[in-house]
Amino acid sequence: MTAVLDKIAEGAIPPGDAPTPAPGAPVSGLAGTLKRYPLAALAALVLALIAFGALFAPLVGTTDPTALDPANRLQGASAAHWLGTDHLGRDIWSRLVYGARVSVVVGLAVAALAVVIGLVIGLFTGFIRWLDPIVMRVMDGLMAIPGILLAIALVSVSGASILTVIAAIVVPEVPRVVRLVRSVVLSVREEPYVEAAVSVGTPLPKLLWRHVLPNCVPPLIVQATYVAASAMLTEAILSFLGAGTPPIVPSWGNMVAEGRLLFQIAPMNLLYPGIALAITILAVNILGDALRDRLDPKLAKRVGQR
């Protein structure tokens, strides 16, 4: 195998006995990356704005998102209510901004938890032979449970809260991360430098941390973005179904659910949160694609040549 790769490399540029550039060496810094992926730069900007709004929600022209004002319900956009009010007279802009908090928190928390749990399980599963078949069959079992169904079951047992929602989304995501990590570990463990580390007596945890883990990071970063996007969507679906965040919490899913009732009278009440959700998820996915291209040396080269 390696002989072929050497050959191909030699066919393109004779590498010689001279030092060759590192595989996937950074072509240029952050600025260069943004220039090469303008769409990704835009996506990053959008996400930064959303994160900023979520973090500083009280400071961006909002009022109390839960304050009822039945006298002023279903109003259009105005200086007082930038995007109008809903059927209970609540300010839609405020609810939209505060709703972003839920989405961002769920997205980040699920991505972080799923990646960390999956990474630990995947590393050990990939490296310890006897553990592998047992853990992977358990993971297959977990993957067979539909996420939404599990969420509804969990919520009905422990009540609707953002923590329940996060737990319900993390559980079915973990096996995907485990599979990814395990596949990387299985190929890296055959690398001579890993075997060399074994033969100089490196203990397993150190071995995994130093020699195996770094190889898992690039694909994991990419996977994390997809997990985050899918978590946000699942949260919205759960809220929409009434199995997610409690109705008192302003979240995009809840807003869509409420807006649905009056869609014919005030369509924008449903469309605003819908659009916000769509833009956020699209931005996360575009960013993930760009990261994938950037972190995969082969793809990066192809994109670079275009």
Partner: protein, 546 residues
């Protein structure tokens, strides 16, 4: 198109210059390259990696990487027609009909989901108007000419069902089916075992004689050159340093570089050595390693393949034992068992008198230090993300040495293996293959082992670098009184470095003895076959060449 009358060259390269992309370590991939290939002539282009020999071959085929390399000057005349000026359509037409190429790795050059017959047939489909029946007849004929067994049956087989040598024969059949005037062979035997290599070289020779095909043969191996070349072109750093008839080049090389290359090829004649009498450092008793047979829950059942069968070897301190064999002989398996990278199925491995074959990971730790390994691929045996210093110091620090002490030891070892101690802060990609192998040796020595195992440690290196690394291995062996277990497929290397040799075939040691005795008087038939197949047998002892 001019016809080739008499001995007019079929391929004529004139002052070829191919530029490297900006930012490379030199301006030209090749420059000022000129040579001819006549009909029925085998021209060997020899050089080390980076010499531009492959770029030259790829230029002829019009296969240079687009956007990175292109010919700036010169002409490549194929029967008088300049292929550098040919349109892409014309080039496509020329490939296959007038010129053909075979590659190093037959396993990947063939499409795994197409039958052998279809792959050869494809060439005919593209370039001829023959009917399916006529094509099949032609395919069978060429397969027969390539000495492929039972062509009718082989036609419908897939590449994975063939051996490496048979796959290379199929590649040659596909290349030769339209009787091109020139065949370009880019290291076609490098990935093959010596016995297979000998057969393929024989085949290429035969073809060139019968069909009068000109052959441009790219290789790094002077043994192969000695075996088949009519004419030799020696390349270095993109330039031709010397060319001439093979006999002259070998008898009377004019340039120092050529002399050095020829001298770097280890002689097949082993020097006289005194038997080592040090204490036994490692001994295997009836070592068996089996593979295969796992139930769905991962429990091992009876092994179906035995990679090593009742292997008994002994290495004393201060001694080099060579384990020689072709691919699949089990020589690497034995090495990996001794380092305990794989667990042996049965038998004993004694290190300093203690059987480590069955020890648990924890109990094994103190013995890990005593046996160290240098791996084959210098590009993969160092973690690319860590400084080489971190790699060299890792082992001693695992065994409780402080950072300062480990660093001091690493600096001392860097000097010993011929590298600057300041290079410890650098990353592996900043070193050449030979330097990396020195680093790997330093890493192994940092553990202060009793036993050093070199698993094909020089086979990925150029001959000149190979020689230096071999000398280094020999030097550290003497300096530290190591037991050196040297795994190789290369009899020449084994002849020069080993005190004793064990020949392995299909998991078994078929013959073992002192190197000189084994080379001069091989008892087992397989040993004799191996020795006979070594390319350029006469190289290195001129009296035999006469």
């Amino acid at each position: 198109m001019t016809t080739t009358e008499g001995n007019a060259p079929v391929l004529s390269i004139r002052d070829l210059a191919v530029a490297l992309p900006a930012g490379a370590d030199r301006r030209w991939a090749v420059e000022g390259v000129s040579f001819d290939v006549g009909p029925g002539e085998i021209v060997c282009v020899v050089g080390e990696s980076g010499s531009g020999k492959s770029v030259t071959a790829f230029s002829v085929m019009g296969l240079l990487a687009k956007g990175e390399l292109h010919a700036e000057r010169g002409e490549i005349l194929l029967e008088g027609e300049d292929v550098l000026k040919a349109s892409p359509e014309r080039l496509r037409d020329l490939r296959g009909t007038r010129m053909a190429m075979i590659f190093q790795e037959p396993a990947t050059a063939l499409n795994p989901v197409m039958t052998i017959g279809d792959q050869i047939d494809e060439v005919l489909q593209i370039h001829t108007e023959l009917s399916p029946a006529e094509r099949r007849e032609k395919v069978i004929a060429i397969m027969e000419a390539m000495h492929l067994p039972d062509p009718q049956a082989l036609y419908d087989r897939y590449p994975h069902q063939l051996s490496g040598g048979q796959r290379q024969r199929v590649m040659i059949a596909a290349a030769m089916v339209l009787d091109p005037v020139i065949l370009i062979a880019d290291e076609p035997t490098t990935a093959l075992d010596v016995t297979t290599q000998a057969q393929i070289l024989q085949l290429i020779k035969e073809m060139q004689e019968r069909r009068r095909t000109g052959v441009l043969f790219i290789t790094h191996d002077f043994g192969v050159v000695a075996e088949i070349a009519d004419k030799v072109v020696v390349m270095r750093h993109g330039e031709v340093v010397e060319q001439g008839p093979a006999r002259e080049i070998f008898a009377n090389p004019k340039v120092d570089y050529t002399r050095m290359l020829i001298a770097s090829v280890p002689s097949l004649e082993p020097p006289t050595r005194t038997a080592a009498s040090g204490e036994v450092a490692v001994r295997t008793r009836d070592l068996v390693k089996g593979y295969g047979g796992r139930s769905w829950l991962g429990r091992a059942t009876r092994p179906s393949v035995l990679a090593a069968k009742d292997v008994n070897i002994v290495v004393r301190r201060g001694e080099t034992l060579g384990v020689v064999g072709e691919s699949g002989s089990g020589k690497s398996t034995v090495a990996r068992c001794i380092v305990r990278l794989v667990d042996p199925t049965s038998g004993a491995i004694e290190i300093a008198g203690v059987d480590i074959a069955g020890l648990s990971t924890r109990a094994l730790t103190p013995y890990r230090r005593r046996v160290q390994m240098v791996f084959q691929d210098p590009y993969r045996s160092l973690n690319p993300r860590r400084t080489v210093g971190a790699s060299v110091m890792e082992g001693p620090m695992n065994f409780g040495l402080s950072r300062e002490d480990a660093l001091a030891r690493a600096r001392r070892l860097m000097g010993l293996v011929g590298l600057s101690p300041d290079a410890l802060d650098r990353y592996p990609h900043q070193f050449s293959g030979g330097q990396r192998q020195r680093l790997a040796i330093a890493r192994a020595l940092a553990m202060e082992p009793d036993v050093l195992i070199a698993d094909e440690a020089v086979s990925a290196l150029d001959v000149s670098v190979q020689k230096q690394v071999l000398e280094l291995l020999d030097q550290v062996k003497r300096e530290f009184d190591l037991a050196l277990l040297f795994i190789t497929h290369d009899l020449r290397v084994a002849a020069q470095i080993c005190d004793r040799i064990a020949v392995m075939r299909r998991g078994e040691v078929v013959e073992e003895g002192p190197t000189r005795e084994l080379f001069l008087n091989p008892r087992h038939e397989y040993t004799r076959t191996l020795l006979a197949a070594a390319p350029g047998r006469h190289l290195g002892h001129p009296q035999a060449a006469e």
